[in-house]
Symmetry: C2
Subunit: 148 residues, 2 copies
DNA sequence: TTAGATGCAAAGGGTTTGCAACGTC
DNA sequence: GACGTTGCAAACCCTTTGCATCTAA
C-alpha cells in the first residue's frame, strides 16, 4: 500500500504537481472504497481526517486524477457523477429505470481499441464501457417497460 | 425514411406516448446529423421548422428517446451533453486534453454483455464504449503530457 | 373528450472559479 | 522564496420543472 503511495507521489511530482495531504487522502479513500462514491461522499469520507477540507478541493483533485488516468468518472443520468478508483478495469451496467450501477465481472477483450490507436495515433489511456438497460427488479415491477 | 418514421411512430404509440411534430422533427434532425449535437444545437436545427419550440421540449424529447433506446447520450467533461442518434453502434474516443470526440469505426464484439445478461437477468438495451486518452495533435503540442 | 405534450420562464443543484492565505519543494 | 494548492463562498450554466395552454388520439 505504501509502495503504491510512493508511485502516486512520483507520478504527481514528475509532472509538476504537488503531493499534498488532501490529494493523498482523497485517492486513498477512493481506492479503499468498493462502491463508486460521488464527490460529496468522498468529501464526507475524508472529512474526519482533514476536518476543514473543502468540497472544491475534492472536485479539483478528482479532475486531476481523471486527467492522470487514475480513475474513471461515471456520468449517470440526473444523479451526480460517480468516481471509480478501482485500478482493475471493469464494466458497469446502469439501470435506466432506478439508476443503480452494477459491476460487470466479465473478461475484457484485451486488444480493444488497439487498431484504432495504431491507425490514428490516438494514445489510449483508459476506457469506459457501460451497458444500459433495465435490472431484474425494475423489469418485474414496470407496467410499461421501455425495452426495445 | 418514411418507413422508419412509421416505425418510430408505432414505437411511441405502443407505449402510450404521442407522436408529436416536435418529437418527429427532433429525431429526424438527430438522425440526419453525423456530428453529435448538443441539446442546444438540436434546438437551433429544429427552430426553422418549428419557430416557437422550446429548449425544454428538446430536453424532454431527448430524455424520452434515451429511455426508448433510440439514442446514445455522451457526457463529456465540463461541456454539455452530446447526443448520438446514429443507429449503427459505434465507439468514441475522447481527448482528455482538447475535449474533441472522435468516432471509432471498429467492429463491435457482438456478444458483449450477453453472459452478464444471462447471469443477472439485466435486460441490456444499449451500451456505450468510450476510449480516453490524447489525440495526435495534443500529444505533439503538449509540453507536459499527462499520459500514463 | 381527455390525458399526454408543449411553451415559457424560473428554479435547481452539481460543479466550477476567483482570490487571499497556505504549504510544498 | 516561489509557485502550486487550498478554503471559502459566490457564480455558473446546463438541465429540470410547475403550470396554464394546447393537441394527439
Amino acid at each position: 500500500m505504501s509502495i503504491k503511495e510512493d508511485e502516486f507521489i512520483n507520478a504527481l511530482r514528475k509532472r509538476g504537481y504537488r503531493a499534498t495531504r488532501q490529494r493523498l487522502t482523497i485517492l486513498k479513500a477512493l481506492r479503499g472504497s468498493s462502491t463508486h462514491p460521488t464527490a460529496e461522499e468522498l468529501y464526507n469520507m475524508v472529512k474526519p481526517q482533514i476536518p476543514n477540507i473543502s468540497l472544491g478541493t475534492v472536485y479539483r483533485s478528482l479532475e486531476l486524477f481523471e486527467r492522470l488516468g487514475l480513475l474513471q468518472k461515471l456520468s449517470l443520468g440526473k444523479s451526480p457523477c460517480r468516481y471509480n478508483g478501482n485500478p482493475k478495469m471493469h464494466y458497469h451496467a446502469i439501470c435506466l429505470s432506478c439508476g443503480r450501477v452494477f459491476d460487470v465481472d466479465e473478461p475484457v477483450p484485451n486488444d480493444l481499441g488497439r487498431r484504432f490507436s495504431e491507425k490514428t495515433g490516438f494514445k489510449i489511456t483508459g476506457y469506459k464501457l457501460e451497458f444500459y438497460g433495465y435490472c431484474k427488479e425494475c423489469l418485474s415491477k414496470s407496467r410499461k417497460p421501455e425495452v426495445r
